[in-house]
Amino acid sequence: MQMNHDAYDDNYIRSILNNVKSIAMVGASPVNVRPSYFAFKYLAQRGYDMIPVNPGHVGKELMGKPFVASLADIGRPIDMIDIFRNSSHIMPVVEEALKLSPPPKVIWMQLGARDDAAAEKAEAAGLKVVMNRCPKIEYGRLSSEISWMGVNSRTLSSKRAPIPTQGMRLSLNRTSFSGGQTAASDRAAKNKTETP
């Protein structure tokens, strides 16, 4: 079945976030005002094994994790690659990822980043792909942690909410509705393609 990359079903995103354990973040920044820094820190605090990848910062650390220059330098299997680069820099990262042995299970492109050709290549090799989404936002939304900021998590639950603590993985298994397919998000995607 052809993946619809304009609007993902919540179950697709949920199964990715529930199953991956290690995430290499390409383009991670040690500057604490960059979105990649927020996302790295949040995902680390939610229990993911995070690896910062950025050739410009080798020798430094991000939350105690040493930067590596490239995916090949990680030297152990990783589940997901989160690409914090502009759309035009995605393809080489995906090509590098596909050379890893074993290859990662998931390629994730950040909010604002999308490369359909790269996605097709990764999917042809059996990888799952998410484009133009932030894993921090999706995790916060599916766990409902994000609704502390008034965000529509598009999930419901009649179970007692957990009290999140550092390093804790939250349950993402709430009842979803219209996962990512609200009229609004469809229209946003459509507006984007209509006005490049």
């Binding site: 919540d10 820094y37 909010l111 609704s147 529509n152 419901l156 957990p162 509705f177 009229a183």
Partner: protein, 426 residues
């Protein structure tokens, strides 16, 4: 497997709410506190730097208010919402994100009288100029667009006359002009109209009216549709430029499709200050649980009352979009098929004096300046809400001297009709 979309009534009861983590309380607790402790210095810094989700201080956010925000965002089909102290505060906070001195907003001429005042006087003093357009003539919106235009503002069902706005036609003008469409959905509520489905980019409400619904709490809310690209052409620097107070982060880049709601919170509410009391949020949340039931009853009663008035000898005209002959009936059937709302006007053959008399003769209807209460309400706009306008402006905004406005409650319709009948005969 695809997710199931719960119905509107299920969302009205459940969206945003979950049993309390510490006590298991099932109703949403009232977190009546000004502030929240930090785990440690690093936690505090990450909250202040917008790196973590969490509570700091009730002016910026509160867990009771957050439930209300998520609930209304879900009902409207938006990505996020921000609750504020009143409907007027919502309008102020929205426009502060969009306009700089010298910028313009195009607003429908048919608006709540208080909004006309706010735009004409208070906003003018900020250097925000308003160009008025007629929602019955879409070309007047097109003609008002200039290089300084930053937004278009309309009401879905317009106060006071209950006229229905062609949201899709005006959304097309906004899209062409590259500006967001803001829809005040107060009189319709999302039960009747969901403006985002028709092209709105931002929805605002006075929660004081049908959403709260019981005439006991002021409140307002801003819903972000997540549809507008704020960074295009750098027209909206509050969202696209680095924010010095947050270490240079860019709001849209960081928060994606709910960036506008975040900007309203961390730039607007934080600095302007019109926070909603958690107690009011609780009252309004409780009201929203019965919104679908109330709204249908409001509409059914209003239709019966409008039908009664339309044949009454003392009445010269009834403006109710739910009546078959009404000029807005076609738009009502398109945009609000479940009902035309509960706020409408009618004209008395006896003019201004008959309006004043009617109001004083009614026994069940309350004479006051509000709409969207369980109780039926009446007002004579020309001598009250719209009294600051000159006669020509009164007529243009639907508040001519012989006009009386009703907001029909959820009592028994027979009693409402009997009260109007005795008052019209008295």
């Amino acid at each position: 497997m695809t997710d199931r979309l719960p119905g509107f009534s299920t969302l009205a009861v459940h969206a945003g709410a979950q049993p309390d983590p510490t006590t298991g309380a099932r109703a949403t607790p009232i977190y009546q506190t000004t502030s929240f402790v930090f785990n440690d210095a690093d936690h505090a810094a990450s909250l202040f730097g917008l790196q973590a989700f969490g509570n700091i201080y009730t002016r910026i956010g509160n867990p009771t208010n957050a439930v209300l925000e998520e609930r209304v965002a879900a009902l409207e089909g938006g990505t996020a919402a921000l609750a504020v102290a009143s409907g007027h505060a919502a309008q102020l906070v929205v426009l502060q994100q969009l306009l700089k001195p010298g910028d313009e907003i195009i607003a429908a001429r048919k608006l709540y009288g208080g909004s006309i005042n706010q735009f004409t006087h208070a906003f003018k003093a900020f250097g925000w100029n308003v160009a008025w357009a007629d929602p019955d003539e879409i070309e007047s919106f097109e003609g008002a667009v200039t290089p300084h235009t930053k937004a278009i503002f309309i009401e879905s069902i317009a106060n006071p006359a209950g006229s229905i706005t062609d949201i899709e036609a005006i959304a097309a003008v906004a899209r062409k002009a590259g500006v967001p469409l803001i829809v005040d959905n107060t009189l319709a509520s999302p039960y009747l109209i969901k403006p985002i489905d028709h092209g709105a980019d931002i929805v605002v409400h006075s929660l004081t009216k049908f959403l709260g619904g019981h005439g006991n709490s002021l409140g307002g809310i801003i819903v972000d549709a997540g549809t507008f690209d704020w960074s295009k052409d750098n027209k909206y620097p509050m969202l696209s430029e680095p924010r010095p107070e947050y270490h240079g982060i860019r709001i849209q880049e960081t928060f994606g499709n709910f960036a506008f709601a975040i900007a309203c919170r961390v730039l607007g509410l934080r600095d302007l200050g019109p926070a909603l009391s958690p107690f009011n949020a609780f009252m309004i949340l409780t009201g929203i649980e019965t919104l679908p039931l109330r709204m249908q009853k409001h509409c059914d009663n209003a239709k019966a009352v409008a039908e009664f008035l339309s044949t009454h000898p003392a009445v010269s005209a009834v403006n109710y979009a739910g009546l078959p002959g009404d000029r807005y009936n076609a738009l009502q059937r398109k945009y609000a098929p479940k009902g035309a709302g509960a706020v409408f006007t009618f004209s008395l053959k006896g003019g201004y004096d008959a309006g004043v008399n009617l109001v004083s003769n009614l026994k069940l209807f309350s004479h006051l300046a509000n709409v969207g209460d369980t109780r039926s309400l009446v007002i004579h706009p020309a001598s009250t809400t719209h009294s600051q306008l000159d006669d020509a402006a009164k007529v243009k905004s639907g508040a001519a001297p012989e006009v009386v406005r009703l907001s029909i409650g959820i009592e028994d319709k027979e009693d409402l009709i009997a009260d109007l009948d005795q008052a019209l005969r008295a």
